[in-house]
Amino acid sequence: MSDSTTETTHATLYERIGGEAAVNAAVDLFYRKVLNDYRINRFFDGADMEKQIDKQRAFFTMAFGGPNNYTGQDMRNAHAHLVKKGLDDSHFDAVMEHLGATLVELNVPAELITEAAAIAESTRNDILGK
C-alpha cells in the first residue's frame, strides 16, 4: 500500500493523466477546435495535416509535462515566424481555452487540468517571443 502511495506522489502529471493514450485522445479534439476557431486558424494553415497533428502531439506531451527535449529557446524558434505574423496574448489565450475545453471533454479531473494549464501558461513569454 505504502508503495503505491509513494508511486502516486512521484508519478508525473503525464503519467497520471494517462500518458500517450491521453495525448492521442486529446489531439483530434483539440485540433478540430483550433481549426474551427477563426481567431487563430490562420496560424495553422500548413498544407500537411499529418505533420500538423504531430506538432499537436508534441504540444500535448509538453503541456502534460511528458518526456520532451524542447527548451524555451526551441519554443521561441518554433513560434518566431508566427509572432512575425502577429501572434499575441489574445491568440495564446484562445489556445489555452481550447486546451482546457478539450481536457474537460475528456473528463480529466479538474486538478490535473489546472496543472496542465499551468505548464502551458509557463511557456507564454517564450511562445510570444517576449
Binding site: 478540430r32 497533428i53 506531451t61
Partner: protein
C-alpha cells in the same frame, strides 16, 4: 540482450536500449528527430520478429499490420530483422498481358507475375523503365489467381513515362515492378463503419481496389464513392460501378463533373465538394482520398473538421515526379 539484423549485418541491442539507440551506436544512419514516438521519422519495418505494442502505438492500423514500428520506442523482446524505410526497393519483372483503352486518355494496363505478388488493394508500386525512369502507379484490382495486377494509366501530354506506357509498351514486354507501398488500404475491421471514397481522375484506381476488397469482406456499412473528372468523356468504369451499385444495397456511386456541361444523372462540381454536401457528418467514418494533391489536402482537412478521426483518414496524393 537481442540481436538486430539490418541489411545482412548484425547489431547487439542491450537491455533497456531501443532499436534506434542500438543501431545508431552501431553506425547505422537511421533517420530520427524527436526520439519520443511523436515525429515518426524513425519508422522502420520488421521483416522478422514481432514489434512490441509500445513501438507501434499511434501508428495507423495499416502500418501496424505491415509490422512497421518506431525504432525509438522499440525495446525488442526477441531478435529482429529490420528494414530501414529508405533502403532500396526490390524490383521484380512482370509481363504485360493487356493494354486497353478505358476512355480517350486512360488505359487499363495488366501485368502478370510468375508467382504470387502480395499486396493490399489500394497500395501502389513503382514501375521502372530500362533507363531507370521510375513512376508510381496504384494497383486497381484485388489479388487474382492469375497473379495479375491491374493499373489505370492516364496519358499526360508530354508525360515522359505515361506516353511511353501508352505508345511503346506492348503486350508480351517485361517491365520492372517494385514491391507494393503505401498504407492507403482497407482493413476488415469495424465492418459497420461508413466508408467514404473520393477520387479524382485515375485516383479511381486505388479506390476500385479498396471498394472490391471491402465488398469481398462483406463490409456492412454504407460505402459512398465519388469520382471526380472534368467532362463526361473523362469518366471510365462507369458501367461497371453502376452495376456494382445495383447489386449492393450499401454501395452508392456518384460521378461528378467539374466542367461546364453537366448532363442529367451526373453531379455538378468537384468530387470532394459534392461529397461534403451529401454527407453532413463524418464522425466514425473511414475516409479514403486518392488523386490530385490539392483535392487530397483540402478534403483531409474538411473530413477531419466534419468529425472523421485523423487515423481513419487514408490518402494517396498523386504527386507528380
Amino acid at each position: 540482450m537481442t540481436l538486430l539484423t539490418v541489411a545482412d549485418k548484425t547489431y547487439l541491442c542491450e537491455k533497456e536500449e531501443t532499436v534506434l539507440e542500438a543501431l545508431l551506436r552501431g553506425g547505422v544512419a537511421v533517420p530520427y528527430v524527436c526520439k519520443l514516438g511523436s515525429c515518426q521519422t524513425c519508422l522502420v519495418r520488421s521483416l522478422q520478429g514481432t514489434p512490441p505494442e509500445l513501438a507501434q502505438m499511434g501508428l495507423k492500423d495499416t502500418l501496424k499490420k505491415q509490422r512497421y514500428f518506431l525504432a525509438c520506442r522499440c525495446y525488442p523482446t526477441e531478435d529482429m530483422t529490420i528494414r530501414l524505410s529508405d533502403q532500396s526497393a526490390f524490383y521484380r519483372d512482370g509481363i504485360v498481358t493487356k493494354n486497353q483503352m478505358l476512355n480517350h486518355n486512360t488505359m487499363l494496363l495488366e501485368i502478370k507475375f510468375a508467382d504470387a505478388f502480395e499486396f493490399y488493394p489500394g497500395q501502389f508500386v513503382n514501375l521502372q523503365r530500362r533507363d531507370g525512369l521510375t513512376r508510381s502507379y496504384s494497383i486497381a484490382n484485388i489479388p487474382q489467381q492469375s497473379n495479375t495486377l491491374a493499373f489505370h494509366i492516364r496519358r499526360l501530354p508530354e508525360g515522359r513515362f505515361s506516353e511511353w506506357l501508352h505508345d511503346e509498351l506492348e503486350t508480351g514486354d517485361t517491365i520492372a515492378v517494385s514491391e507494393p507501398r503505401g498504407h492507403c488500404f482497407y482493413l476488415p475491421q469495424r465492418s459497420e463503419q461508413g466508408l467514404l471514397l473520393v477520387g479524382t481522375g485515375t485516383g479511381l484506381a486505388p479506390l476500385e481496389g479498396i471498394l472490391l476488397d471491402a465488398l469481398q469482406h462483406q463490409h456492412t456499412g454504407v460505402i459512398h464513392l465519388f469520382h471526380g473528372v472534368c467532362e463526361v468523356n473523362d469518366l471510365y468504369r462507369s458501367d461497371f460501378l453502376q452495376d456494382l451499385a445495383a447489386q449492393h444495397d450499401n454501395f452508392t456511386y456518384t460521378p461528378c463533373l467539374s466542367g461546364k456541361f453537366v448532363p442529367v444523372g451526373f453531379a455538378k462540381g468537384y468530387a470532394h465538394d459534392v461529397a461534403l454536401a451529401t454527407l453532413s457528418d463524418l464522425k466514425n467514418w473511414r475516409v479514403f482520398l486518392c488523386g490530385h494533391p490539392d483535392m487530397v489536402n483540402q478534403m483531409k482537412r474538411q473530413a477531419f473538421l466534419k468529425g472523421a478521426a485523423m487515423r481513419d483518414i487514408y490518402a494517396d496524393a498523386f504527386f507528380s515526379a
